[in-house]
Amino acid sequence: MSAAALGLYRPGTSPLHRAPAGWKLLAMLVAGIGSVLLDRPWQVLVALVAVLGAYRLAEVPWREAAGQLRPMLWVALAIGAFHVLVNGWARAVVVVGVIAVLVLLAALVTVTTRTSDLVDAVVAGCGPLRRVGVSPDRVGLVLVLAVRSVPVVVALAEEVRDAQRARGLTTSVRAFAVPLLVRSLRHADALGDALAARGVDD
C-alpha cells in the first residue's frame, strides 16, 4: 500500500508543504469545531470543494485524495443508511459529507507535513500541560508510534491474510483476528525493547 494511501508524508514544495505544522494543526482544529455549523447539503458541498482545492494546491493527485476515503467507506455507508432511514437523505448527506471533509482535511495535514514537524508542533502545543504533570515529549512519542503503527499493522494484516488463504481459511474471522492480534502484540513488545535500546524515556 502506498504511503499516500496510508495518509503518510508525501514530499513536495507546495505552499501547504511549506506552511508551519502548528498552523496546519490549528486550522484543522478550527475546521473541526466549525464543522458543527454545517447543516445543509450545499454548505457541505462548498466545504468539500474547498478541501479538494487544497489538495490541488498541495499537488496531491485526485486518485490519492480519493484513496484517503477508502478506509472509511463501509462506516460511511452504514452511517449514511442509518440517517436516511431516521432523519432523511439531506441529513445523511450532511453527516457523511462532514466526516469525509474532516478525514480528507486530516489526511491533507499528514500528507503535507513531516511527522517530525507534526511532533514538534504537538510537543510545543502541549508545553503548558507540564504544569499538570503531562510530559509533552511522551505525547509526541505516542503520536509518532500511532503514525508508524499504521503501515506496520496493515503489513501484518496482509501477511496474516495470505497465510489464511494458503491454508484455505478464507472465511474464518478467528483465523484472521487471533494471529493479527498476537503478532501486533509481539511487534509492540519488540518496539518497546527497541525504544528502550535507543534510550527513549531514559
Binding site: 504511503a3 503518510l8 519488540a190 518496539l191 535507543r198 534510550g199 531514559d202
Partner: protein
C-alpha cells in the same frame, strides 16, 4: 575501546520455581575490537547481548561497560552502546528514512542544524541518501536493516551490539551489512548464525545451555560449534 566485564552473571526471565537459567555464572572480560557470539537457539546469546546495553538487568552478578554498571548507570550505558535487532521493522520508529535517522539525535537535544548535518552525513556514508524521503515501510528488507543500523550509528556509540542482524537477509544484503560493520571504528559485538561473517573477528564465544563453552579464535570456535551441533 570500552571494556565489557561480566562477573558471575546468572539470569532467569521469571522468578517462578523451576524457571530455566538463561545464563549461568558467566564471567568474561572483552576488550577486543571485534567479538562474535555463536550458539544454538535458546543458548543464551540474545540475553547476553541484551545485558550489554542494559535492556536486561542480570538476576545475579554484575555487567559493566566502560566501567559503568548497567544496573545503576543504565542511561549512561545506553548512550555508549548502540543496539541493532534482528527485525528492523520493530526498530524503525519514524515514517521516513531521514526522520528515523534523526530520531535518536533529536532526543539528545542537538540543534536542528547539527541534526541535519549528521543525518545527511550518515545517509551519504551508508548509501541511503537517495532514499532520504522514502517511506521506511516501503524499503526492502536489506534497506530496512541498513536504515536500522544507520539510525544507531548516527548517534556514534562507542560499542555496537548486534543481535542476529542478518538472519532475515539474503546473502547480498548480509554482505552489505558485513561491509558496514568491517569499516566501523567502534567495538562490535555480533551475535549471528552466519558463521562466515566472523572469520576476520578477533574473538568468538560459543554459548551452549546458558554457558560459554568455548572462547577463542574464529577458526577454533566455529570448529567447536560445528562439533557441538553434531
Amino acid at each position: 575501546m570500552p571494556v565489557i566485564e561480566l562477573e558471575r552473571v546468572s539470569h532467569r526471565y521469571t522468578d517462578s520455581p523451576g524457571a530455566p537459567l538463561v545464563l549461568d555464572e558467566v564471567t568474561l572480560r572483552l576488550d577486543e575490537p571485534r567479538v562474535g557470539v555463536i550458539g544454538a537457539n535458546g543458548s543464551g546469546k540474545s540475553t547476553f547481548a541484551r545485558l550489554l546495553n542494559g535492556l536486561v538487568i542480570p538476576g545475579e552478578g554484575t555487567v559493566r561497560v566502560a566501567g559503568l554498571d548497567t544496573r545503576t548507570r543504565g542511561r549512561d550505558v545506553r548512550r555508549r552502546v548502540g543496539f541493532c535487532f534482528t527485525d528492523p521493522d520493530a526498530q524503525i520508529v519514524m515514517p521516513t528514512v531521514r526522520e528515523d535517522v534523526a530520531f535518536g539525535l533529536r532526543r539528545r537535544g542537538l540543534s536542528k542544524a547539527e541534526v541535519r548535518e549528521r543525518v545527511d552525513g550518515a545517509l551519504a556514508r551508508y548509501g541511503l541518501a537517495d532514499l532520504a524521503d522514502h517511506p521506511a515501510h516501503l524499503l526492502s528488507g536489506g534497506q530496512k536493516q541498513l536504515l536500522a543500523l544507520t539510525s544507531v550509528l548516527v548517534t556514534e556509540p562507542a560499542l555496537l551490539v548486534l543481535d542476529e542482524p542478518t538472519t532475515l537477509l539474503d546473502l547480498r544484503n548480509a554482505a552489505a551489512v558485513a561491509r558496514v560493520l568491517a569499516d566501523l571504528p567502534q567495538q562490535v559485538v555480533l551475535v549471528t548464525h552466519h558463521l562466515d561473517l566472523l572469520t576476520a573477528f578477533d574473538r568468538v564465544l560459543v554459548f551452549d545451555r546458558a554457558r560459554v563453552v568455548h572462547d577463542g579464535t574464529p577458526r577454533d570456535a566455529i570448529a567447536h560449534y560445528r562439533e557441538l551441533m553434531g
